[in-house]
């Protein structure tokens, strides 16, 4: 990469494009998530000369992604009427995104790294430059905040699956 190896970029995007995109897609719409993923890879290329091979590449990459996700301002959790949440997967997705995006930056990063990118806490701590205990504390705070902001989904099992079951409710559907 640092030497301008074009094939390396292809390998990089092939291997990491999906997880990096998904990392951002939990907090923003697909278009904005794509922009953030592009910014991550752009910064990765720019920082490639500074990459030290003794650091795991994943930590290096996620460290960059974390900076970008922490740069995003914490917004407000959307207020969506219950009936909308019950009816619409898009509404549930919007609520979920807004709730994660509303977390304070450090908690948001800890949550996304461990729960979306699915890094072990040790690896997340490395990407965040923190002690593992700090990451766990932030993660607990993030989860406790989300318990409140996502209460409408947690109270409704259909919300948890995002695919409601009304069509299959036992209310006399003809065969």
């Amino acid at each position: 990469m640092a030497a301008g190896d074009s094939a390396a970029l292809t390998r990089l995007v092939t291997r990491w494009g999906q997880p990096v995109y998904a990392f951002f897609e939990r907090t923003r719409d697909p278009s904005a998530a794509t922009e953030a993923a592009l910014a991550t890879f752009e910064r990765l290329v720019a920082d490639a000369p500074r990459y030290a091979p003794d650091v795991p590449f994943a930590s290096f990459l996620w460290g960059i992604a974390v900076k970008i996700v922490q740069d995003g301002k914490s917004g407000d959790v959307l207020e969506i009427p219950a009936h909308k949440l019950a009816e619409s997967a898009a509404a549930r997705t919007a609520l979920l995104r807004s709730a994660i995006a509303a977390l304070p930056p450090a908690e948001r990063a800890a949550f996304l790294l461990t729960r979306v990118a699915r890094l072990p806490v040790a690896a997340a701590a490395e990407a965040l430059g923190l002690q593992e205990n700090d990451v766990r504390r932030r993660l607990v705070r993030a989860l406790d905040s989300l318990r409140t902001s996502l209460l409408p989904l947690l109270e409704n099992p259909a919300g948890l699956t995002f695919e409601g079951e009304p069509e299959d409710e036992p209310t006399g559907v003809a065969s």
Binding site: A46, S88, V173
Partner: protein, 321 residues
Amino acid sequence: MTCDELRERIVDSASASQGGHAPVVAHLEECAACRAAAREYGALDRLVRTPIPPAPPADLEARLRLRLSVGSQRPVSSAWLLGGAVAVLTLAALLAPRLLRGRPKPEPPPATESAPAPVAAAAPAPEAPPPDIVAVHSTPISFQNAPLSADEKAEAALLHDFDFLNSFRTLARLDAFFSEPVGPRAPVAVPAGGFPSRPPDTADAITGRFLDWQRAARAERVRLSALEKSFRDRPEEERSLLEERWMLVHDFSEDQRAGLRRLASRMDELDSRAHDRLESEIRLIGRLPREQRAARWRALPFAKPLTGQELASAERLLLSR
């Protein structure tokens, strides 16, 4: 162990097992607030997962190369420039059909964008083991205050597979996609080992069922029991037929099953004449060679407004027989 310590342990699979599981289990048994927290941490974890990981746009690399080649003020190597030139051509090729159609589209979305998927969890990085949010692996933790009673266990053990119960009505409504309509017919041969939808019959499966039942909210138990009754009220030959159909779809993803449910709902919205006509067309498609079915299905006027999820689910069903 304090509540804070407990919570910091259960959010991390690596730390949860340090110091043994016993203190975690003991604390959870005594502390209702932490039980609720643990239960909801788990629910949140499920909330951010999706059956189909969100996919970046197909032109991500091309766009990246374009940005690297034209948007940067730093020195650019000839390799990036060459890659950038390729990227420009690739982008042009990708965009040309849209421009020619004169219909600007939003940026290429993830694969499930047409049916706004509750997107979520990225696919785990291959080297990263997916952590369990409540990570006491070897010790079942009860989040309920009371263990199951004998009656509750008996009720749970008699239920068919939960996914099957959630789906059998849909399978009945999608008659046309299967070779035999629901109704009287010759008995269905039960496969060796039984139908996968049948109630659990091994010790492990029964234990798993009890744990599932223990975790299920009261309303969910009532709902599943009602579905079970509704299923058992059907004639024997219908039940066997639906269980046979389940064998074709039980390995469908959650997303694909949701697509089938939506498809069935769309068909239900048709008036009876249009519904019958569509069923005839689908049955004809089902008799075509497999390689022709998808194209013919997509060519149906009914299929035009369907979402990608609905189309793909129907195609898989059509190709499964």
